[in-house]
């Protein structure tokens, strides 16, 4: 019976997700870049990137209890991997203007020649997966020594790793690969994502990042609810008890760390395709803190919370509060107050208020289905009482 209920719930969740994706695809077609509502698309695009980044961070920090601050570093690795392997041959030399590019293969290009526009899609997918894999390899290498450390030291070590990675990727000697301190551009980006079916062209510039984030977050949800995910939570709640009950700490921490970094790498790749550029100096520790803030706002240990937190965060800072910087906000015209920088002030106040009133974030450690549960429980209790009185 339990399984039947679960199957039904999963089915409903699947339909909701499919409807959401369809809606995004429709929005992609109807909203023109010049529309006022085009901000909605931007929020969806960047929101996807940050939602995936936040959820993957939550997997590690929230579900496994490993306080790591290396996220920006893994995103950087992902962004660069994606960029390097999708720059078309013709632009390669313009991008690497000071260096002789060492890697000269573009997945979408190679596959396009054989498979047409489907090849482009496949090439992009391959580059995204590779981005995740490279980030995961980095994670595995630094995880070996670093995961033995306890909380604060782990945070410092991973933060240090992210800073070092940023410096290394800007290092002139690696120029042929990373283009030194210059940015990478001209690679496959969302504005070129289109599918041509006969006469009609379907734009997918918002759909693709949303789809990537959705698929990845779904995978993380599956992981968290699996027997491994339960063990992660056991490690978070009480490491000593977890080890005494036969959970291999080193192995499970590594799985969590590598998986989290894999998806951070994918988030980095998605960020690159949304922004159209990849530059190491953008992946500062401030980015990690921003993502951490989204996780905390949404609720540590809640995937739903991380998604809500990051989308609200992006929407507020990119869209709703824009007016605070440019003179007009909610119809009030006060250029004296609403000028550059004021947005950040208001934003910080809002965050402080949220943190004060929602001590455990917006969602606590609850997920979307949990919100529907209490009612169901009460109902079943009543039902069982009736049975008893009968």
């Amino acid at each position: 019976m339990l399984q039947k209920k679960d199957n039904k719930k999963n089915f409903i969740a699947l339909i909701v997700v499919a409807l959401f994706l369809a809606l995004v695809l429709v929005l992609d077609q109807v909203i023109k870049p010049t529309d006022k509502m085009s901000m909605l698309l931007t929020v969806l695009q960047k929101g996807s990137v940050y939602a995936l980044a936040a959820v993957s961070m939550n997997l590690l920090n929230g579900f496994t209890g490993l306080f790591s601050l290396g996220h920006a570093g893994f995103m950087l690795v992902g962004a660069y991997t994606y960029a390097i392997f999708t720059i078309p041959a013709e632009s390669r030399d313009t991008v690497y203007q000071y260096y002789d590019a060492a890697i000269r293969v573009s997945f979408p290009e190679v596959l396009r020649s054989g498979l047409g526009s489907f090849g482009t899609v496949l090439g992009v997918v391959l580059a995204v997966v590779l981005a995740g894999l490279v980030a995961a390899v980095f994670a595995w290498l630094i995880g070996l020594p670093v995961l033995k450390l306890k909380s604060d030291y782990l945070a410092i070590a991973t933060l240090g790793f992210a800073e070092i990675i940023r410096a290394v990727f800007q290092w002139g000697k690696l120029g042929p690969v990373t283009n030194g301190s210059n940015l990478l551009k001209s690679f496959e980006r969302i504005s070129t994502f289109k599918l041509t079916v006969g006469e009609t062209t379907i734009k997918m510039s918002t759909f693709v990042p949303v789809l990537i984030a959705t698929v990845c977050i779904a995978l993380i949800v599956l992981l968290v609810n699996s027997t491994y995910g339960r063990s992660f939570k056991a490690i978070r709640d009480d490491e000593i008890a977890a080890e005494a009950m036969g959970i291999n700490l080193a192995k499970h921490k590594m799985i969590s760390f590598v998986t989290s970094s894999f998806f951070a790498g994918v988030a980095g790749a998605t960020m690159a395709m949304v922004l159209g550029i990849a530059q190491a100096s953008n992946f500062k520790s401030a980015m990690t803190y921003e993502i951490l803030l989204m996780v905390v706002l949404g609720g540590i240990g809640s995937i739903t919370g991380s998604v809500i937190g990051s989308v609200l965060f992006v929407a507020a800072s990119e869209w709703w509060l824009r007016g605070l910087d440019s003179g007009v906000f909610l119809g009030i015209n006060a250029p004296g107050i609403f000028r550059n920088g004021f947005r950040l002030v208001v934003f910080s106040v809002i965050i402080m208020v949220v943190v004060l009133f929602f001590r455990k974030g917006i969602m606590g450690d609850k997920e979307l289905p949990d919100l529907l549960k209490p009612r169901a429980k009460k109902a079943s209790k009543k039902a069982s009482k009736k049975e008893v009185t009968k």
Binding site: S226, R230, S231, K233, I240, A241, A244, M245, L249, D365
Partner: protein, 316 residues
């Protein structure tokens, strides 16, 4: 006499200047209930921690089911450092039973010259279980004196997580739910277990919301979920009232009979100990001061002086 399942030889655990466990040797036979008693701070919990691999002992060896699982011998990665010319460095700390103290030069010389059984682990490649989870995997499970349940999880999930170790599927299968059958099987086993320990009706409640006595029962259920051969209980009756203690006594006996379990337990409630133990070991200041069947212990002068005389006051 039945087979010996746990053997502790010359176990010593030193924390700086404190010798928490001092040259402890003991054994537990299959199917027995053995108690480890002694005043507060005698080193009972520390002995458990040595046996289950939480601490690497300063000296000594623990054998479980015929295989050495813990030793003050370089294990795992450390082992490499102590190969070759360094190999004697570590083993020098292991004092085999019967060796005279170093100060007694003559006796030491005689002992060195005499024929001895060679220590089978010097320079051997045999990796002894290096972490507690490996020891649990071999069939030893424990509970904690200061309850350590996973607080964000329900009663059911607490027990289910302990089944994780017995999985046969890998990460990929788990994510894509190719392990459904196994998962279903484990869930049924957990439900069965909860029925046996009498926690079925609270299975969906948070573990930490249970009253004290039930939390201790849950810890036992969780330990049983790992399919152990030997169960180590650290003060299972602590904080229980006489009625609950009586029930627990019965329950522990049932576990032994129904699961064919061997049990080693630490306890301050003397009624419980004398009631169910086959044999008792008494620790005082880390040293073993007595061992034997309950009647022997009850009439042992040293034990009465060190512990039993004050035990009634020590109990709360």
């Amino acid at each position: 006499m039945s087979k010996n399942i746990l053997r502790v030889e010359n176990a010593t655990m030193q924390f700086g200047g404190v010798v928490a466990v001092d040259n402890l040797s003991m054994e537990v036979n299959e199917g027995e209930i053995v108690a480890l008693i002694g005043p507060n701070g005698a080193g009972k919990t520390t002995a458990f921690n040595v046996i289950t691999g939480v601490y690497a002992p300063s000296n000594g060896m623990v054998t479980f089911d015929g295989e050495p699982i813990v030793r003050n011998h370089p294990q795992g990665k450390m082992k490499k450092l102590y190969k070759g010319e360094n190999s004697t460095m570590y083993t020098a700390a292991y004092v085999p039973a019967g060796r005279p103290p170093m100060e007694d030069e003559e006796a030491t010389k005689a002992w060195n010259d005499a024929e001895h059984e060679r220590d089978p682990f010097v320079g051997s490649d045999k990796v002894l279980a290096p972490t507690p989870d490996k020891i649990t995997e071999r069939g030893m499970a424990r509970t904690f004196q200061n309850i350590r349940l996973w607080k964000s999880q329900t009663v059911f999930t607490n027990v289910l997580i302990a089944k994780h170790m017995r999985r046969t599927h890998g990460l990929f299968s788990a994510i894509f739910r190719l392990n459904r059958k196994e998962e279903q099987q484990q869930r049924e086993e957990v439900l069965q277990l909860l029925k046996i320990v009498g926690l079925e009706d609270v299975k969906d409640e948070l573990a930490t919301s249970l009253p004290y006595g039930k939390q201790r029962r849950l810890e036992i259920a969780r330990a049983l979920a790992t399919d152990p051969k030997l169960l180590l209980l650290d003060e299972p009756a602590a904080g229980m009232n006489p009625q609950e203690t009586l029930e627990l006594t019965k329950f522990i006996g049932e576990i032994r009979d129904n699961f064919k379990m061997t049990i080693l337990l630490i306890e301050h409630h003397m009624d419980l100990v004398m009631d169910i133990s086959d044999r008792i070991y008494v620790l005082d200041f880390g040293k073993l001061i007595a061992s034997g069947v309950p009647e022997e212990i009850q009439n042992n002068e040293r034990v009465i002086d060190a512990y039993l005389g004050v035990a009634d006051d020590a109990e709360d």
